[in-house]
């Protein structure tokens, strides 16, 4: 499955006024669904993106979750640079953090080495380490997730 395509498809779907989209291709299929909340009596229901201006009902009544916040209470710490991931300051040291640790803002999470310089990556907010996505020596790109924290 190509996640980029799925993401793109969701974008297209979101920008549309569809409530459902189903595609079968060979053995593959995908179904997107957006339940429109039922509105009370004696009202007008409209769903389109480009509503005429004299519509008697405002959009806010329609509960379309256009950009569903990925708000499951977790957030990722992204790499601010290209380099090599290190979980600890030295091979024999303990890692800065491990799963389950509570971290507070400014606390070091890992190192990214670039051009022989070790750059310390710190937590921006407090949380609990849910997952460390990289291992010692892993190459990381700019913007790649390193550590997942939960609030």
């Amino acid at each position: 499955m190509d996640l980029r395509k799925v993401r793109k498809l969701i974008e297209i779907f979101n920008a549309s006024n569809l409530s459902e989209l189903e595609i079968h291709e060979g053995e593959d299929s995908i179904r997107l669904n957006r339940t429109l909340t039922v509105v009370a009596d004696q009202t007008t229901v409209q769903s389109a993106a480009h509503l005429p201006s004299d519509v008697s009902q405002t959009l806010k009544d329609i509960d379309i979750d256009d950009d569903p916040a990925d708000d499951d209470g977790t957030f990722a710490v992204l790499s601010p640079m290209v380099g090599t991931f290190f979980a600890a300051a030295a091979p024999t040291d303990d890692p800065f953090v491990k799963v389950g640790d509570e971290v507070s803002p400014g606390q070091p999470l890992c190192l990214i080495e670039a051009m022989k310089i070790f750059n310390q990556i710190e937590a921006e907010r407090s949380g609990t380490v849910l997952k460390v996505l990289k291992q010692n020596g892993d190459p990381v790109e700019y913007g790649e997730p390193l550590v997942i924290l939960s609030e």
């Binding site: 290209v82 790109e141 700019y142």
Partner: protein
């Protein structure tokens, strides 16, 4: 041998380097900013690394990011293309110090040629004629400068040593304008480059821009691949380039080429490079040297059959040149039109999504372009989106094919300079080869 090359650039030149590597069986790492991550040429590379956000300063000009990307991908060499870090001596130095091969000349060569005064001094020493001028930085003594200007003879040009893109450049018609011009140039230069050093040169009246392409290896071999005419410029930006430079007598071309090769040997130059000259119809005056592959290398490739980017890589891999000067032969004629995403008359950049791209084809047509249908042109980078290059057994055939190719080219969704190129190609003087660096602005009424 080099096994994996980091392409530290974007757009058409990134694709050009990728093609050369692929032909040589060398793996590629495409570096890209966040906004370029979906580009087709990035997907064509064996590996890709995102090195930063869209602004070039944070990605394509970010030296630590580029070198770190080479480190994490275990690459052996870095090709800088043109623009961005290509002529940054500090970058070349760090590449080498980090244990990678820099595909280009030595940092020292880049540094010397980066300073215009240094470059001119070096080339004068190596036997090239330069535009008569101050021969060095101007002092503080206005009277002395006046005297120098008189000796050179008005009109003169005031230029910034660290210059580029026309900044600090000022034309002085006679002595009465001198003092004011010096002050203005000094201000611009210190503001623009953090260096207020100026020098003076005689102003040539409507010269042509002629350049010589060279290749030099690690073993003392150097060859020149003929010349190019790049006189069709607007706001100092080349728009049309041709090889060979029409109307230059063969013996003059040979003499100039040989002198460039000698200069290369003299200064220990390595890799591909271009000597740029002004030509007043009689003599060539050296103005600067570009220490990288140029946008217009394609026309030289067409008339010589030599793949300049492959040669750059081979040279960087410490292989001797595969060709001797005797084996370089110029056959036919080639023209390049740079298609920019700009309005054809105002030349305002035109960002947007290309919703239909269809390049021309057929005999004698080469297209170098990274765009495709649904490609988005942003405002972050320069506006060159396609190079249309044609070849013919003579200039007329190359011109006819270019007109045909431009008529077939389809780029919908953004403005392009195609119509401007068609206008130039239709001009009788251009077709007769009566051009100079002011031709375009003059003929467009600017």
């Amino acid at each position: 041998m080099i096994e994996k090359i980091v392409i530290a650039n974007r757009g058409e030149i990134a694709l050009r380097i990728l093609r050369a590597c692929r032909d040589l069986g060398i793996a590629t790492v495409a570096l890209h900013s966040e906004i370029d991550s979906e580009a087709k040429y990035v997907k064509l590379a064996d590996e890709s690394v995102c090195i930063g956000p869209a602004p070039a300063a944070l990605s394509y000009l970010n030296i630590p990011a580029v070198i770190a990307a080479a480190e994490v991908t275990n690459a052996s060499a870095i090709h800088p293309g043109y623009g961005f870090l290509a002529e940054n001596a500090a970058f070349a130095e760090q590449v080498v110090q980090s244990g990678f091969v820099f595909i280009g000349p030595t940092p020292a060569s880049i540094r010397t040629m980066g300073n215009k005064i240094e470059a001119i001094r070096t080339m004068e020493k190596a036997g090239l004629r330069c535009v008569p001028g101050s021969g060095g930085p101007l002092g503080d003594d206005l009277d002395e400068i006046r005297l120098q200007a008189e000796q050179i003879g008005y009109p003169i040009l005031i230029k910034a040593a660290a210059g580029g893109g026309g900044k600090g450049l000022r034309l002085v018609q006679d002595e009465s304008e001198l003092e004011n011009a010096l002050a203005l140039s000094q201000g611009e230069s210190s503001l623009g480059f953090g260096d207020s050093t100026l020098y003076m040169e005689k102003f040539l009246n409507n010269p042509r821009h002629i350049e010589i392409q060279v290749l030099c290896d690690n073993f003392g071999n150097a060859v020149y691949l003929g010349d190019r005419d790049c006189s069709i410029q607007r706001r100092r930006q080349k728009l049309i380039e041709e090889a060979p430079a029409f109307g230059i007598p063969d013996h003059q071309r040979r003499e100039l080429g040989e002198r460039c090769v000698e200069a290369c040997t003299e200064i220990g130059y390595l890799g591909a490079g271009t000597f740029e000259f002004l030509y007043d119809g009689q003599q060539f005056f050296f103005i600067e040297m570009n220490t990288r592959v140029q946008v217009e290398h394609t026309v030289t490739e067409y008339v010589t059959g030599i793949d300049i980017v492959k040669e750059q890589i081979r040279i960087a891999a410490s292989q001797p040149l595969t060709i001797t000067q005797d084996e370089v032969s110029i056959t036919g004629h080639s023209i390049e039109c740079r298609i920019n995403a700009e309005h054809p008359s105002t030349l305002m950049p035109s960002p947007g999504v290309i919703h239909h791209y269809h390049p021309p084809g057929g005999p004698g047509v080469r297209i170098d372009s990274h765009i495709y249908t649904d490609y988005e042109i942003t405002t972050h980078y320069d506006s060159l989106i396609a190079k249309v290059i044609t070849y013919g057994s003579d200039r007329d055939e190359a011109l006819a094919r270019m007109q045909g190719a431009l008529a077939e080219l389809v780029i919908e969704g953004v403005d392009t300079t195609t119509a401007l190129h068609q206008k130039i190609l239709a001009k009788k003087k251009f077709r007769r080869g009566v051009v100079d660096i002011n031709f375009l602005e003059r003929s467009l009424g600017h």
